[in-house]
Subunit: 243 residues, 2 copies
């Protein structure tokens, strides 16, 4: 479903006439894998200035240069939707970062819970996965990646205007659509717990917060990466930008 | 989120006192990886008779035998929900079969579309992935896996009492919740197209069917495996067993 022109995330400011040096790995990919030549076009975005068409002006083994020509899409606003997740094993964590980006989240926040197995989180790798998903899926906003933080600390410092929706395995089997529909428009966050679910005390602490909404994701247990796409889909459809 | 006892899918009829020989790979996993011994317990299910606790009576390098003791969960009915999908590349297809199983679909039906790249589909591998997801996620019903069929032929032979919901990239940006809520209870199917979307003529043929409901999955392009979890979540929440 990608655009026909290769899309690249770049960190530089964007505008007609801007000349940008690409990263060595981008140069390698364009030159050695796609075999592009000077004069060929790519699409570039920096997460802030929309999407632009650019012309390759030079390309070597590890270096490439582009000249930005014209804007192809303005920068859109995505939902104000933070995504908090207990880190899981690497392959599924890669996947989770990609999927959350496709679902349009604005922030990836690893949350260390009592049952979190993987305490070390490679935030550079999360960022790379988010960028890859944005490049491939035509997304203009790359989510901000925050360093891991204990869930208890995140709750202590929570901005109470932001609704925190969590997929609660212990929730009564009530309609998640009804629960979400009863909420008014406000900044949002979705929290997906660790494999094995939240510790009882931890769940109780969550339930005590006035800004927390537990929702049920049905009668079947799901892996954390499945639950995250499912929960983000419901939130986008009822409260986000899928309406 | 798995049960603490290892869960195994077996093909044998189930009941107290039944003695079942496990597959060589199951014997290997229980004996050499988990290091279980005779007398240890496992959970077994066959997709029809619920979940049972069984005792290992013998275990060798490639052979193991269990004696079924008592039922731990009755066989539940899942949603009558077929899942039609254009085959994609292998790693993501594995993932898609696992995710659809977690979402509770009753049938996996590969549908060959005009833009389908992977014409060959390994149905044994789809089945193995569905079983793996069912084992790990406490699911009792393993979806039926059907051989690949052309989408046009599937439409020609469609049972019109079954609603076919498809994630339509070209759909007007309308609320998918409203579109689904307007439907009455009936057997369901979800169709996810190929990367690159449906061919125009193919989409027109879909739109002409009285049993087809197109829904929008928002303003961002998603990979097919993401769209499938998102679409199945909305369908389960509005028309399926998440209510």
């Amino acid at each position: 479903m990608a655009s026909k022109l290769q899309r690249l995330f770049v960190k530089s400011p964007m505008g007609t006439g801007a000349e940008i040096a690409l990263l060595p790995e981008q140069a390698h990919y364009l030159g050695n894998v796609l075999r592009l030549k000077p004069g060929d076009h790519v699409l570039v975005f920096n997460g802030a200035d929309g999407e632009w068409c650019a012309r390759l002006t030079a390309i070597g083994k590890k270096k490439a240069q582009i000249a930005v020509e014209h804007q192809t899409r303005p920068q859109g606003q995505g939902p104000d939707l933070h995504y908090l997740f207990a880190p899981i094993k690497r392959a599924r964590l890669d996947y989770m970062a990609q999927k959350a980006t496709e679902m349009g989240v604005s922030r990836l926040q690893p949350a260390i819970t009592r049952r979190t197995v993987a305490e070390r989180v490679n935030t550079d790798r999360l960022k790379a996965n988010a960028i890859e998903a944005a490049e491939q899926c035509g997304i203009l906003r790359v989510p901000e990646v925050c360093p891991p933080e204990k869930l208890s600390k995140l709750l202590d410092h929570w901005d109470e205007s932001r609704l925190l929706i969590f997929a609660d395995e212990a929730a009564a089997a009530a309609s998640p659509i009804e629960a979400l529909s009863a909420q008014t428009a406000r900044p949002l966050a979705v929290l997906i717990g660790p494999e094995g679910g939240f510790d009882t005390e931890e769940r109780n602490a969550l339930m005590r917060q006035p800004f927390v909404l537990p929702i049920s994701l049905g009668p079947r247990v799901m892996r954390a990466d499945t639950a995250s796409v499912a929960c983000l889909a419901l939130v986008n459809a009822v409260l986000g930008d899928w309406r």
